[in-house]
């Protein structure tokens, strides 16, 4: 188990290094001058040059790449004394950071990965992500929980009521849910529940996790705003979970051990829930975690329609403005999250099915 975890983490680091390398070279090969972007069209040449020097854009690409890696790596090498050095250990950039040891002028530190600053807002990219990601995480978790719980329940119902009108209705609903585009669903749902029925539901067309009170100006957490985007995002995974649970459970219910369970004298409910469902969950979990992972990368359309300021919106904004550090930082962050989710999923499998052996 521990062996496996270590192996997976090592592979994960390899994957992230690969992603880092690809995005670095991708954005360095692309045309576009970051210093110009930063200063605007009318900046004078000397300040552009100064910025270039400051960002290290005058250095060879390979040096820039190594520096980029050095900034990202939790363990990095810096120059401790020369303030003009490109490798200078700048406490303002790197914090929190701890010196591990130093040899002469060179110091090896353990630090939080430094994702640099946005060209546009000059804010640290890590703080931009720290602000946006929890919202995405909350939205993704809410919609996945909704899809999982409702989906499994409806799937079980459909399996038990196989070939009845209820089952057929659920199947039609499920194929409808699978095929409806999310931006369209978002608009329809926003219009229906927050405009036509707004008096009954009391929901707003859009709004993020934090709202500002109109009278007092106080900022408060508004969980109501979560409902519509979560439902919208949940529709497709819900539809998939319903049909997967149904078919997987039907398959399991024809197995020999279900007959054994019935022969013990167990009630239908215990047979289906106690013996059937757990065996049927594997494909469902695969689908759910896959969706969860992709939702973590931000559901751009839905976040946009509902103005939910998650990581999807951050990335699209940054792309529009060619805000390289933000794009690179977010993509990297998402790939780390995906690697972690995947490792987690493997462990969930072992909990659900003892036959799955990690190694």
């Amino acid at each position: 188990m521990l062996n496996y975890l270590i192996k997976r983490l090592l592979y994960g680091i390899l994957v992230i290094w690969g992603v880092t390398t690809i995005i670095f070279f991708l954005f360095n090969i692309l045309p576009g001058d970051a210093a110009r972007m930063l200063m605007g069209q009318r900046a004078d040449i000397s300040s552009v040059e100064a910025i270039k020097k400051d960002l290290g854009l005058d250095k060879p690409v390979l040096v820039q790449y190594l520096n980029f890696l050095n900034d990202l790596s939790p363990v990095s090498v810096h120059n401790a004394s020369d303030k003009n050095s490109f490798w200078y250990f700048n406490r303002e950039k790197y914090h929190p950071a701890f010196r591990i040891f130093s040899v002469g002028n060179t110091v090896v530190v353990f630090k939080k990965p430094y994702l640099r600053r946005s060209y546009q807002s000059k804010r640290e990219v890590s703080s931009i992500i720290a602000e946006a990601f929890p919202k995405t995480l909350l939205l993704a978790t809410a919609s996945i929980l909704l899809a999982m719980i409702t989906g499994i329940v409806l799937g079980v119902v459909a399996a038990i009521k196989k070939d009845t009108p209820l089952d057929k209705f659920l199947l039609v609903f499920s194929s409808f849910g699978m095929s409806i585009p999310s931006f369209f669903a978002a608009i329809i749902i926003a219009w229906l529940f927050a405009y036509v029925l707004a008096d009954y539901t009391g929901l707003q067309m859009f709004g993020s996790l934090y709202s500002v009170d109109d009278y007092t100006g106080e900022v408060y957490v508004n969980l109501k705003n979560l409902i519509l985007p979560a439902v919208t995002l949940g529709i497709r995974p819900l539809a998939i979970v319903v049909s997967l649970t149904r078919s997987s459970l039907l398959d399991v219910l024809s197995q020999d051990y279900i007959r054994t369970a019935k022969a013990k004298g167990l009630s239908n409910f215990s047979v289906i829930i106690g013996h059937g469902l757990r065996n049927a969950l594997n494909p469902v979990i695969t689908a759910i975690t896959g969706w969860f992972a992709s939702l973590m990368a931000g559901a751009v359309f839905v976040e946009y329609v509902f103005d939910w300021k998650g990581i999807g919106v951050v990335i699209v904004d940054a792309l529009e403005k060619y805000d390289l550090p933000v794009i690179m930082g977010s993509v990297l962050f998402i790939s780390v999250v995906l690697v972690l989710v995947n490792i987690m999923v493997d462990f969930i499998y072992t909990l659900l099915d003892p036959r799955v052996r990690l190694g």
């Binding site: 062996n3 019935k262 022969a263 013990k264 004298g265 099915d353 003892p354």
Partner: protein, 563 residues
């Protein structure tokens, strides 16, 4: 105790109605044991399931009554049936491999039943399970309690099933083919266990099997079923010694005889249609004929030589992929097979006999050793050369249900190897050859476009054999080719294999756990245990004068007939 009166069960599908059980009546007294014998599809399992009220949805009971301790079961509600099931009536199923819930610990599956019927708490139920596990002679009850089904052997799983069945002191135990999926040695132990438990608990036992020899070891009374009807019933000794019905006579004689060597096994249809002619059954091959045949065979150089091959399967690997723990599936096997010979390989599951077959075909790559086929060293050949060589080597697998692609018509399945080896000029010729093969293996030309699910187990095994013959091999490995089949179907397939051998002059390696079948088929026998050869020699010599304890034990386990 149990009384079935005039029971009729039909299976309804969209346009057909099949009578699975056709007006049968039977009676099982308190503490008695009744054997129910028949081929697959004879309605014996359906009868048992109707007692449990566990019939599949497609089956409908159209007439009849089932009484259990004076109570009409077919009129009883769900609640009553639930309390009877697992309590007063319990059942052991055929497939121990799939009959236990794979994600639940073994002990918990038994404890669940105890808690349900005896309304005890977790702790007491667990204690009872432990005692039961000891009673069914499971080694290390504590660790098996905590084990998941995939972690224990088939025989152990069946013991867990038996523990589950006797957990609530049932009055009636139904055992549906409880030993069919197991090795002969394990079969013997399980049957003994059932007999002992029956005595101890005073249960009535309904024992269902396709094999009359097995039934004769447990049952006092026997009922023989054929196509949903009872064809014969009565005292087991009487039925065994003087079977009245031709079907029973056929069933009794289609097992390979324990003495003498027949050229061909009798099959049931010949008894049923009274076509039984005296064309070789009654006159076994004489010693002299056999010697002469063997002399011709052993005059040639061997076709296949296996030298000291080894294969280990890793069980546990360290962080850097180094093997920490492994199992030796083949531990230095050497053997020779002569052209035209049939070499039998016998051993229990886990003895490495299947791995041996796979290693010869290089379906698993041996770690060490050399294999010569027709003077060529197989393990040194490049993949392309090996592919060429494979044309000469056919294999027939154990399970005819899973070794055919369900989405491929059987004609295409048989034609596929011909295409792979670019045999014949075009598809029309290949189709022609496929139809010839179908007919040679006892199938019909019109089966060409049908799919595997439309065939019975015996027919499927014929299809698999036809497919193995398609690339015109010289050498065929039969890996437990008849183990999954009923005895009656077994005889047909064995006859087919022998007939094909005579016609095409094949060389066989015949792998099985059942020594009586291996002996019938083979000229020489190799006995395997734990990846090693424990004994090898002439088939009759090994059978009648076994040298090692292990071989004696294998012979001892063959279901004996009543003397």
């Amino acid at each position: 105790m149990l009384q079935i009166e005039d029971l009729q069960i039909v299976f309804k599908s969209e346009d057909t109605v099949i009578k699975a059980v056709d007006h049968i009546s039977l009676n099982l007294g308190k503490g008695g044991s009744l054997g129910l014998v028949g081929e697959s599809g004879s309605g014996k399992s359906v009868t048992a399931l109707s007692v449990m009220n566990l019939l599949p949805a497609a089956a409908k009971i159209t007439s009849g009554k089932i009484f259990f301790q004076g109570r009409e079961l077919l009129k009883s509600g769900n609640k009553v049936m639930r309390s009877l099931r697992g309590g007063n009536i319990s059942m052991i199923f055929q497939e121990p491999m799939t009959s236990l819930n794979p994600v639940m610990r073994c002990g918990e599956q038994v404890a669940e039943s105890i808690r349900l019927h005896q309304k005890t708490d977790h702790k007491r139920a667990a204690k009872q399970v432990m005692a039961l596990f000891e009673k069914v002679r499971l080694p290390r009850p504590e660790s098996i309690y905590r084990a998941y089904p995939h972690q224990i052997s088939g025989g152990q799983k069946q013991r867990v099933m038996i523990a589950m069945a006797i957990a609530n002191n049932p009055d009636l135990l139904i055992a549906d083919e409880p030993t069919t999926a197991l090795d002969v040695t394990v079969q013997k132990e399980i049957i003994q266990l059932l007999k002992d438990l029956k005595e101890e608990y005073g249960m009535s036992l309904l024992f269902i099997s396709h094999d009359l020899a097995v039934v004769s070891e447990v049952a006092e009374q026997v009922v023989v079923m054929h196509k949903g009807c009872i064809v014969e019933s009565g005292d087991i000794h009487r039925v065994y010694r003087h079977p009245h019905h031709p079907y029973t006579q056929g069933l009794l004689s289609c097992r390979p005889p324990l003495t003498g060597r027949l050229k061909k096994l009798p099959v049931i249809n010949e008894f049923m249609n009274s076509e039984l002619k005296n064309d070789g059954y009654q006159t076994p091959e004489t010693e002299k004929e056999r010697k002469e045949k063997l002399k011709v065979i052993y005059a040639n150089p061997p076709l296949l030589t296996v030298q000291d091959i080894k294969k280990e399967f890793p069980l546990k690997k360290s962080l850097f992929g180094k093997t920490k723990k492994s199992i030796k599936a083949l531990d230095g096997i050497s053997l020779k097979v002569f052209p035209g010979e049939t070499l039998g390989v016998v051993g229990e599951s886990g003895s490495g006999k299947t791995t041996l077959g796979m290693a010869i075909l290089r379906l698993v790559e041996p770690d060490e050793g050399r294999i010569f086929f027709d003077e060529k060293e197989l393990l040194q050949l490049s993949p392309a050369k090996m592919k060429q060589e494979r044309q000469q080597l056919g294999i027939v697998f154990q399970d005819p249900y899973s070794s055919l692609n369900p989405r491929m018509s059987i004609g295409r399945a048989i034609m596929e190897p011909m295409k792979v080896y670019h045999l014949y000029r075009n598809n029309r010729e290949r189709t022609q050859k496929t139809i010839e093969l179908l007919e040679k293996t006892g199938l019909k030309a019109e089966h060409f476009n049908r799919y595997p699910h439309e065939f019975s187990g015996g027919q499927r095994q014929r299809i698999v054999i036809a497919r193995a013959l398609a690339p015109q091999p010289r050498f065929i490995i039969c890996d437990e080719a008849v183990s999954a089949l009923d005895v009656s179907v077994q005889a047909l397939v064995l006859n087919l294999l022998n007939q094909l051998k005579q016609e095409f002059g094949f060389t066989y390696i015949f792998i099985s756990h059942d020594l009586s079948i291996v002996r019938f088929m083979s000229d020489r026998i190799v006995v395997m245990k734990d990846g090693k050869i424990v004994e090898t020699g002439d088939a009759d010599e090994i059978y009648f004068n076994p040298k090692t304890e292990y071989t004696k034990q294998l012979i001892e386990s063959i279901p004996k007939r009543i003397e």
